[in-house]
Subunit: 242 residues, 2 copies
């Protein structure tokens, strides 16, 4: 049928499209076609694409494929996205997926599931780079090479002390201009703004607007760095609330 | 009076505050106090603070101080902010200010004034870094040192050909990881998304959401790079529209 043909053409071109564009195509397919498309992709690509569709559709799709495959995909999703979809799934499915995920990823996601909706904790991602203040430009490069997400999403590096307390932040632009052996604490911004995990979404939005932020570190009640709220998620939140 | 005393204390602490926080204080002062505070600050600091208050208050304040001082301050404002406030002022005042500004800055602002409200052209800033694709990491560092705005606001460098056509974009993270002599075109993202100056604000917002953008280049009808819409301005726009 012409429908099949369309899908076959898409396969060949998919690799060249942005995940958000593939997600647009995915949304127009039938349930069966969606499932075969997702099952045909590698986990990482599938995770990128699923991250771009509405949470309710994510849940339907993940429920329709074998749990091992679904767990592999959720493993590769940004932890905040993974937590959102697990919250949407029936508790048994959610538990099965968590049991099948990599231990460390499952742990990260479980912690995110503990935060109340519309708080900084529920909004944040746990993918960020935190280093000791004595770390140098070279250490940043090393950390970026080991970063789990796309390196293009890194715009600042956060500084923590030996107990993981947030003590500073360094924009990449400053790192690029500094000699390779400069300790990061010498490059830190004058004042790092942060919020606690239970800070409400409205306060987060207000801070982003007031200080023109691209990212806002999130700390627990002992000022340990635990996450990062990013501008793209804040924009989504504001648009959804309109 | 206690009011005067409060203002005097503020002066001493002002330098340590974020411009957005000084702007909050400014908004609570009387007109006279606002004027003397702004006149006491250097142009650059005054411009940073004025950029953080509502446009109508910016206009009132700039009308209340000598035109030469006002022109010096508008000179230091981001071009898109400067255009917004000039649009709010009576045409004669606006014309006087433009006549008193540095020629190059006035020219930039005049071009921005030509764009219809709620289009990419009216939303964009003209502060960005554009280089030839054969430029290297070292050339980026040089350009950043000469950048007019705060370097922390740079997250990507744009690539243009000899006729200023937009041909690529390189996130700072990629530049940081690349050897110093790498030509930028080897680091460019696969596909640069851009909009034309007359693209409506809704489309701009949709693109930011769909592709999780932090910045979106703006081109004229011949694909010449002419500006950049940034995520903070898009967030402001969405909040204002609610």
């Amino acid at each position: 049928s012409s429908r099949r043909l369309k899908l076959r053409i898409s396969y060949e071109r998919l690799a060249r499209l942005h995940p958000a564009d593939i997600a647009d195509i995915l949304e127009e397919l039938s349930r069966d076609e969606q499932r075969s498309l997702i099952e045909a992709l590698d986990h990482e690509t599938a995770a990128q694409i699923i991250s771009e569709i509405p949470t309710s559709m994510q849940a339907q799709l993940l429920e329709s494929i074998p749990v091992e495959k679904a767990a592999d995909i959720v493993d590769e999703m940004p932890p905040d996205e993974a937590a959102d979809v697990l919250q949407e799934l029936p508790p048994e499915t959610s538990a099965k997926l968590l049991a099948d995920m990599e231990k460390e990823d499952a742990q990260e996601v479980k912690e995110l599931l503990g935060f109340e909706e519309d708080t900084a904790g529920a909004l944040m991602t746990t993918h960020y780079i935190a280093l000791d203040g004595s770390a140098t430009v070279e250490n940043v490069i090393e950390a970026m090479k080991q970063f789990e997400g796309p390196i293009e999403s890194i715009h600042s590096v956060y500084l923590v002390d030996a107990e993981e307390h947030l003590v500073g932040a360094v924009p990449l632009a400053r790192i690029l201009l500094a000699p390779a052996n400069t300790p990061l604490q010498a490059l830190s911004v004058e004042e790092v703004r942060s919020v606690q995990t239970d800070t409400d979404a409205k306060t987060v939005i207000d801070l982003f607007r007031k200080y023109n932020l691209l990212a806002l570190p999130v700390v627990d009640d002992k000022n340990h760095l635990v996450g990062l709220v990013t501008a793209d998620d804040v924009l989504d939140l504001v648009v959804r609330r309109r």
